[in-house]
Amino acid sequence: MNNIIKKFYIGKPNELQILNGISLDVSKGEFVSIVGQSGSGKSTLMNIIGALDRPTEGEYIFDGADISKFSDVELSHVRNKKIGFVFQNFHLISRVNAFKNVEMPMMYAHLKPKERQNRVNELLDLVEMSERKNHKPNELSGGQKQRVAIARALANDPEIILADEPTGALDTKTGRLVMDLFHKLHKEQGKTIVLITHSPELAYETDRIITISDGNIVNEEVKNGNI
């Protein structure tokens, strides 16, 4: 089944016009990166892609529907079921342990307790964090936290994983581990991943590199061959 994500926006609901008419699309199974410096508008773009925000003008066709006109409630459903976030600062809930963190999106999706339990264990296995599932975030290292966050992002089997500077708070070695995990998810599971980064080196690991600057797409590169 073809799953094409097409976007076309102008501007942004703020006084400053941060994005000046972006148009891009992402296909199912792609590993795409969006590169730009600070202030290029990449965060804003990510917020729109991630259905955290709506464009002031334009369309956002996601999985067959134009979600740019969706209500808050509908958007929350999209975020819950179809989008998986991985943040630079992990953004785990510090009050609960790793297991519960991964479980949370499933609860909003009204999965039954048994289903949730099985799936959480599966995902923690996938990111190799099963041993620490009862640990709270403050008992985990940066890399471990990010792996839990990735497991969480996969919770409801989303259409797309949005990773915003996922290695930004990690050292080189751990950052490497995380990138390898992304590649694994892309290759072995066919996941669609959009990576936002300011680092060209990281961007070059992906299949397609979209460069953004001052609210405009200035370049688009497709790599030949895989890593």
């Binding site: 991630g50 955290l52 925000d53 929350s76 975020r79 953004h91 809930i93 969480r152």
Partner: protein, 459 residues
Amino acid sequence: MGIFETIKLALSAIVGNKMRSFLTMLGIIIGISSVITITTIGKSIRATISTAFNELGGSEFYLYLMDEDEYSYYNGEESADEEGEGEQTEEYEEEEEPAEEYITEDDYFTLDMFERLDKEYPGHYKLAVAETVGSSKLKNFDGKDVGVDFVGATRGGMESYKIKMLSGRMISDRDSKEKKHTIVVSDKFVSEYFRADTDALGENIEIPIDLTGNTEEFTIVGVYKYTLETVKSLMGEAGRKTTPVFIPYITWNNIIGNPNDNIGVSVKVEWNSEENYEQEKANLKEFFDREYEERTGSVYIGSATEELGMIDKVLNIITLAISAIAAISLIVGGVGVMNIMLVSVTERTKEIGIEKALGAPNSIIRRQFVIEAVTICLVGGIIGIAAGVFNGVLIGKVGGPTLINVLFDGSDMIKFTITPSITAIIISTVFSVLVGVFFGFYPANKAAKLDPIDSLRYE
């Protein structure tokens, strides 16, 4: 997130910061415990008095013969008001007889009246007279002194004091009518006065009735069981060396030279408790109004039920007053909860952002915080209820016996029963929840409306 999960999370948050939670709940705890304490005490008093009245005299009317003025005062009528409006009052007064007449002995209650009453309503009412009228001393077979307290009584009176007869009979209505010199003595008297193994029934005894050596002869027609309780309720205290003895009230009147057959201005009438209270009272009132049409005075009818009613009214007013104050405390407590919830929302801004990013709809966020507020208030309410019951029981255990001493002369028959008011407990619980919902709503709404992007950035 299921509701159960949310509640568990809320509880762990409460436990996680006990001091803060406690201070937040304080207003609620104080408010609710005050209400529960006062309602427990009130209900206990009511229950105790109600039982006591039923034991001692739930089915009695007290008839008081009063002057017009006194009667109007007791009945709360306005005709005796002196602050009338000018001319109208004067006219009224001119037409009426001046209410200057006072009751004389001729107007007192008489046995005849009650005979007539019994004819009109057979079996409904029983005159219960049992008044101490004097004391005396006799010398027994050995020359030793035996002290007696005369109790002028009717059969109804002896029955109302639950006198237990060991042999013979009580004073009868016929004794009263015929002013017979019959007497009912106690077993204590018999053992003190007579030689052992004497059958006292039918014996004649001479008792001095004044200090000048005049005596009267009485025939023993019955022997009753002397108990401390009986003595206490008749005489007001126990521990006297004398023993009560019953003679017909009218006979005593006769002896001391009172020519009338009257029985005074206040009498107790037992009514058949199977009948309807209102009806019995109305019949009685109507009868005596008729009797006293020609005579001076009016008859006021009181009963334990009325007194209970008055006590009830006072208790209700007190309970309401305290509840009003407690309500203020609850409101203050609620504001405290709202304040803490606002702080909580601010503290958890990032967390809320994360939850929204993961797809939690606004309604879920809102519900989360409302449930937290309700949980705090409910826990506070439960603690308040427990504290209130504890206080109520404590005050009851300490103050109950004192109250019984005051009201019932320390009768042993009455125990102070402590009963918490279940209604108050239920209402308090519901109120706690409502306070939580009301005061939690504003912070919850704020949380729900947070922008996820800004929240995620919040440090």
